[in-house]
Symmetry: C3
Subunit: 376 residues, 3 copies
């Protein structure tokens, strides 16, 4: 009675602990976790980013008239959105109008007489729709005439040194707000301890002014490991990354943004079609007699993309439970592993095995056991 | 001593396994998981997308002068962003100026004399601010005069066949870079094994050229299950989805993007206000005498949105532990379930039940058990 | 034999339950969960948003000619994207041309003679590049002449009452589609039970018309707790949040979007550089003799950002398993905790402890136990 009964009682007691929670705990925590856990990971974040570029430039090259450039001229689009483009180099084709002109000479466009040109034909690699005429391109070469915006753009004449090289001294003010409605947190990259007079003269510098939201373009590019003048010729895309990942718990410190910079496009010249970043746009004019003309600009420059990351988190009790639970479940693995170790690797494995094997012929035994207990 | 003691020892041993990890493992894994697990799911991804449309068109309809169209004319906005619009149809109202003209006739705008028109009144469904005069709209109808950009736009005269129907043959080059700083992975949709000469002539085709980043607009639209010419009339929004979901483990293969296409707006004509996609913009001119005029364009077309997904993952050891742990915890459920089964469903359930019930009157027993052990 | 053997058999049986799942369950669920669980949380969502503003305004102030404004004039960019700007106030500088003019007087720009001005010098806070001449700014003040777009913009003369104050009555139609390809769910903010005639006259109102997708700008701003006329003077950024968080299970109800509104920029005048929201853009003209002129507009207004959230979820079986598993694993903690409680806090802890301590000298015992069993 005494020892073995006490032991068995212990076993029974042991079993009993498992039984109670089975019906009580599972429905509550299990179902609840599915919803609350998912909610916590997908935190709603409200962002606003505005950018404002400052600076002007003056160009005086042989290709173009002397010209003064300000923000309205070189920032495209002008809205000061989280992605803005600063024009640094360009091919300008002024005074284009809807008319006819000879194609550039190439294997498929040179011609001897009109029979070589098909009226209405448009070569995808050409510049317009063929009129069917073969005309003089120069004194020595004849090419098919096309209907197009003439004169045609000669985009191989891109200046080797960026026209707006002085754009490297432009500055950009980035205003960024972050709101986590769930945590009732609102943050700005203009920190509370910064006053307006400081903001008028400061400039971001990782060492001396890490909190100033005004960035010199040259500095941004060099922090990304690039050279502004190199990048300005053919253009490129530069990411300004603002990282708001913070722990919002009361015991954690203040939540400050961290800036980093990285070139996003591929600058590797190997296997790089159309390297850099450029696009064409036109300014449309009307002459006194109502004819539409345009200035076509193939714009090369640097697109700055402000990318805001926020993974603010509080020490949520639910994910803690889930993770803690998962960790604890390994404890239940311990006896399994130990048994396996005991039964396969230990010196006395035969004895243990025997014990296990013998217990499988339990039918009569457990019956008698049951009876025995019953008569206690 | 022998058998029962051995058995109890087994029990004790069993209990002992649980005890050790309790204090050692929980604080380490549990707390660590909360942070590392969350981090792993919210992987920072840096994207860059540029698009470049190529192609030109020629329109020659009764409504408009013959006109040649190139990229600078039909791509809006011109920047080659991840969302670009290709103009396919339009209602053009040229030579508008700030002046006065009769309203379109409707129940609320027709009038008999000036008393029917209220100076300064602006009907939200009208076209301008009423001047208070009742003027001839045609030889038979009189309507209130309005101050507006005149002549008014007649937007019911949308061409039934898209003006720029040939836009279906335009191509777009999409350059997309993806960077996962955490995994030190950088990918491009221009794959390393592709050379420049191939890129100059290739065109995306799921079967023959699945890696070519140049897409014919007609092909994109038809892959999305739509007809280009249908969509071109009223406009629409088409998603170009680039999926970078990859396993970045060393044992996994290369990480290549997969393209798919899907119409994003609702084309269902039932219950569809303002179907399709259109917007109004204007080109502003100044006449020789300084008066401002504009050409108003109601632009219909297809907006292409490049959507990049990246769920790259490595076989992280932490989420594996968490998930494995959760799975394993089910093992701890096994005895509970088995016991329940044993006690309720099995033939011998009465015996088992008896055993359990008897153990509930443990107070004196466990006491004596304790004593017995104590005197050992 | 009877009691103790039965008890031990129970123990063995108990152990045996653990062993079977070890090899069967772990590889299947564990590895599978890592992938399937991650997939489920990062659900691909395809969105499309288009916006269409309606309304017109008339301005007649002393600063400007009387002017009529429609959508093409005041919505920038015009594309009807998810972020659109409504012009409400402005500083217009017409007839600028590339020429020379005296700087605004300030400490650094006033001069006595040409020696005070350095040719080619460009002060970042100035308006252009100095020509080296000192010229009359007014009858009393002389300043350095600069090469710039002249006349210079005087941006301190911002109207105190927003020019386009009537913009508060403009309405915007927001069309939003959401697709979860994984769940084969497609939703629109124009709900199926809404008919076209209702949509032509309805206007969003949280109480009476919560499903109407047409919003009066004034209403949006006031729902965000702001005053339109206040905000219109200096500009700002307003978020229109559409929340599609739904449970997509069959037993859950329909999935409807919920609208909310929130100002995203910082309106706090304290510590606020360049408050509000403004940007500069220009319209370019050419005079009859080919000279380029422009109208520079410093545009103040409200940028509306449509932000769509979607955290649709189905009662996924895999996360349920993971979470349930984690919850259940706490059950395995129960005996550990109970034992600890039993051994440290209970009255009879000495007895229990003794039992534990005695079992540690198990070497010979378990050996004999093994033998005993072996000879059964």
């Amino acid at each position: 009675m005494s020892k073995s009964a006490g032991c068995c009682q212990k076993c029974v007691e042991y079993l009993f602990y498992y039984e109670t929670p089975k019906t009580l705990v599972i429905p509550n925590i299990g179902v609840g976790c599915v919803f609350r856990f998912t909610q916590l990971l997908v935190v709603i974040t409200l962002l606003s980013v505005t950018t404002k570029v400052k600076g002007f430039a003056f160009t005086n090259t042989s290709d173009m008239d002397p010209r003064f450039w300000d923000v309205a001229d070189y920032v495209i689009p002008p809205q000061g959105d989280r992605s803005f483009f600063v024009l640094t180099n360009m091919v300008v084709t002024p005074k284009q109008s809807q008319s006819r002109c000879p194609e550039f000479p190439s294997q498929s466009t040179t011609c001897v007489d009109d029979c070589d040109c098909i009226e209405g034909h448009s070569d995808p690699r050409g510049s317009g729709i063929q009129t069917g005429l073969c005309v003089n391109y120069s004194s020595t070469v004849q090419t098919c005439e096309v209907l197009s915006w003439c004169p045609l753009e000669i985009d191989t004449m891109l200046p080797e040194h960026a026209l707006l090289a002085t754009a490297e001294n432009f500055t950009v003010l980035i205003k960024n707000s972050v709101t986590y409605p769930k945590f009732n947190f609102h943050g700005r990259n203009i920190l509370p301890h910064i006053n307006s007079s400081y903001l008028k003269r400061c400039e971001f510098n990782r060492a001396t002014d890490p909190d100033c939201p005004i960035f010199r373009l040259k500095h941004i590019v060099s922090e990304a490991g690039e050279d502004f003048q190199d990048m300005a010729v053919k253009g490129g895309i530069l990411g300004i990354i603002i990282d708001w990942s913070c722990d919002l718990d009361w015991w954690a410190g203040k939540c400050y943004p961290k800036y980093s910079f990285r070139r996003l496009d591929n600058k590797n010249p190997v296997n790089n079609v159309a390297p850099g970043y450029n696009f064409r746009f036109a300014k449309y004019y009307k002459t006194a007699d109502g004819e539409e003309t345009r200035t076509l600009i193939k714009a090369y420059g640097i697109r700055f993309d402000v990318i805001v990351f926020g993974t603010a988190g509080k020490f949520g009790i639910v994910p803690t439970i889930v993770n803690l639970g998962a960790a604890l479940s390994f404890l239940s693995l311990v006896p399994v592993v130990t048994d396996w170790f005991m039964l396969t690797c230990m010196r006395k494995r035969d004895l243990y095995n025997k014990q296990k094997v013998s217990s499988l012929s339990e039918d009569s035994e457990s019956m008698s056991m049951g009876t025995t207990y019953g008569t206690q």
